[in-house]
Amino acid sequence: MPGFIPEAAAQAADARPAPLDLVLRVNGTEHRLTLDPRTTLLDALREHLHLTGSKKGCGLGQCGACTVRMDGKGVKSCLSLAALVEGREITTIEGLAQGDQLHPLQAAFIERDAFQCGYCTSGQIMAGVACIAEGHAGSPQEIRDWMSGNLCRCGAYDHIVAAIQDAAGATGPARGG
């Protein structure tokens, strides 16, 4: 069988760039990791810390499925290198609820039925939390504009906007517009 080289695995370590030791602070816990320096924060979370709640929709910063919070700001984790975010406080969807107590935006997502397949949801919620925290949830239109980095192919936008508005405690009409 051409190309079948069972021993090749043994050579694997040789050609990789020198691995890097680093400490990632995620959801309040410090994790010591040894990573290929090219590893993105998203891959570090998903493949090394087994926090698979953050999703890879594009890996190019175009869909928002990978959004996490870094020092309170919403960032696309597929665009950050893990090595460059050492020492930052990272919150993922897994770290948002306090035990069984859902974050108000998580609760609002249930109330408003703000998702269908759930694949974009972690990113929508983390971006939504950032949207509120960073003061961009003043009106439905402002929410829509701010949230436009997050694709939802299931098309739950109307309800996502409504959920963010609820969670922000904003007044005015409940529906986005």
Partner: protein, 792 residues
Amino acid sequence: MTATGIGASVKRVEDFRFLTGRGRYTDDIERPNQTYAWILRSPHAHALITSIDTKKAAAAPGVVAVFTGADLEAAGVGGLPCGWQVHSKDGAPMAEPPHPPLAQGKVRHVGDQVAVVVAETREQARDAAELIDVGYEALPPVLDMESALAGKSLVHDGAARNLCYDWHIGDKDAADAAFAKAAHVTAIDIVNNRLIPNAMEPRAAIGDYDTATGEYTLYTTSQNPHVIRLLMGAFVLHIPEHKLRVVAPDVGGGFGSKIYHYAEEAIVTWAAGKLRRPVKWTAERSESFVSDCHGRDHVTRAELAMDKDGRFLGLKVSTKANMGAYLSTFAPCVPTYLYATLLAGVYTTPQIYCQVQAIFTNTVPVDAYRGAGRPEATYLLERLVDRAARETGLDQVDIRRRNFIPNDAFPYQTPVALQYDSGDYGATLDQAMGAALVDGFAKRKAEAGKRGKRRGLGYSTYIEACGIAPSAVVGSLGARAGLFESAEVRVHPTGSVTVFTGSHSHGQGHETTFAQLVSGALGIPMENVDIVHGDTGKIAYGMGTYGSRSLAVGGEAIMRALGRITDKAKKIAAHILEASESDIELKDGQFRVAGTDRALGFAEVALAAYVPHKFPHETLEPGLDETAFYDPANFTFPGGCHICEVEIDPETGEVEVVAFTAVDDVGRVINPMIVEGQVHGGVVQGIGQALLESCIYDEDGQLLTGSCMDYTMPRAANVPNFSVGTHTTLCRHNSLGVKGCGEVGAIGSPPAVINAIVDALWDVGVRDISMPATSQKVWQAIQSARAPMAAE
């Protein structure tokens, strides 16, 4: 209606895991000792492969194996099968060229699979793939259907003129005769733009092989795991079903694109067996663009004959449908049985003739995408009706009402095979017009005019066919599968219930809707019910989820199994209560002897079924577990009316959807909240098609719209406010009376949007605008319409 029964907007059961990042999608799964696959894809649209040298790649760090088409062929791996055979007018079967999972000798589209590298890490597999040296001899590609038919270059040697089939339906002579009597004929040329589904979850597949049992497991992003098991096991890898388990766990959206059996599924499964290690593959988004099946891509000429009163006499349609480079699993049925059979729409057109040429090109295969054939039919028909109204001076609403199938005509036999069972098109239209505040439109239009903007109102009154069935009929039309659904209801000894359904949920909320059915039928709390789907190792059989079939077919199967459970439970209760079976009634979870206070709780009966100490064993078996296979008597026919109001800035061509109203008849509504979400999603995709999305190839066959930046999908800021409502007529051939709601939004909305734009710009002289109506296109249409008017 109980708090959780039929008709209640119960919050979704699946929400908690999705909200907390605990959903379990294929790429979230890791198997011990797993390897990673990287697929080397063709950079050419059309080329001969003259050589493949994998030596360097095989020697690269971390590489476990490299395989090419030749390896698969040598191992006896078969081609990907097509699940539907269409015959041409002349009776000849369609051209059905082979579709090897890895190319053999020739590549036929950019993205075609050429080789696979399996390595210890994904990065190593990708790096090594770059070391594969493929010799290509480029061939001229055929990209548009006209030049494909001219046959200058052949995608497949076995398909002369690149024609897959030349099919027709209806009575051509009768249609011609109708046209001969016409007072007016309206003709229109329509392009239904090619779309790229782009479910947010990229496709992924993990092959696993158990050396102890010889059993293969495939985890895959599929809408129908049993279908994948059948196709892959029987036709591609020749693995018997008892040694092949297919799991489709949480799936992040499908919209059709995850129905089909894809090459990567077969490759990882086969490689896992060969290498005795799990093999995982996850598409990059750029691969999704060039390897997930695309949708739509029709070019059509249609003519409508009317009498002097605007009544439709006949319809003639000629369509070219792009199949792409290979026949995907259900591709042949989309532009035929899911398209031409819908051309009566909601109208009494007595004569319809449609011919369809399906054509191979050097593009990604095209198959069903949300709506599949029905959006194409609806778009064509509703644009044509709109134009006919303008040409004859009839009002948009009036022309529709004149031609609606009247309420007393059901069951209504169309001239194109279908028999509609129910509907009330006038009432749906009335309700939509009320909700859309049509009465105030003239005022809003005038007000917009003062601001220099143009307002338009567009209608679409549509019908679709869901829950494609019955098996005997689809079989006679070329389906190589049955289209029933199965359900098993297992009552556990303490009274909790697990339902195993052959439907698959990838955003539809089945875990909630189906649990509501159980809760309603057995009178037990929803939290005592679990819905299991997506695993051939657990569920007896299933045909999966597409064509809005899950509730109408899968839900009905559950109802039948529930009926059997109730029947048996009554027997048990009657025996214990020493009453006659016919006197036992089930109400609120209690089996009661009618008119007495002697009763047993559901859980007591369940326990008795499994602790059958006093059973008459000759007549009553222990246990409480029932299975049903349900094959519907007919399609279901959801329909509705969508009304779109747009405002256009003539200086920039920018189109704003200022209001969108949908009133859909989806039959009985089990969970209004879930239905609303489904309609929203469909409408967002429909508006995406109408205003934003278009797949574009350059003349070399390179995909120009190959990223989420180049291929414009609706984002939060692009989506209008919706007003969504339902008007219910019950389906007459299933006990629930349900019709289906997953596709209505995508089917009904595109013509409403485009008709609104044409309405806004008709006075300027714009007669047509093609999808997607981007600002640039609209601006140009306004400019070119103004130019001749200025010159006149």
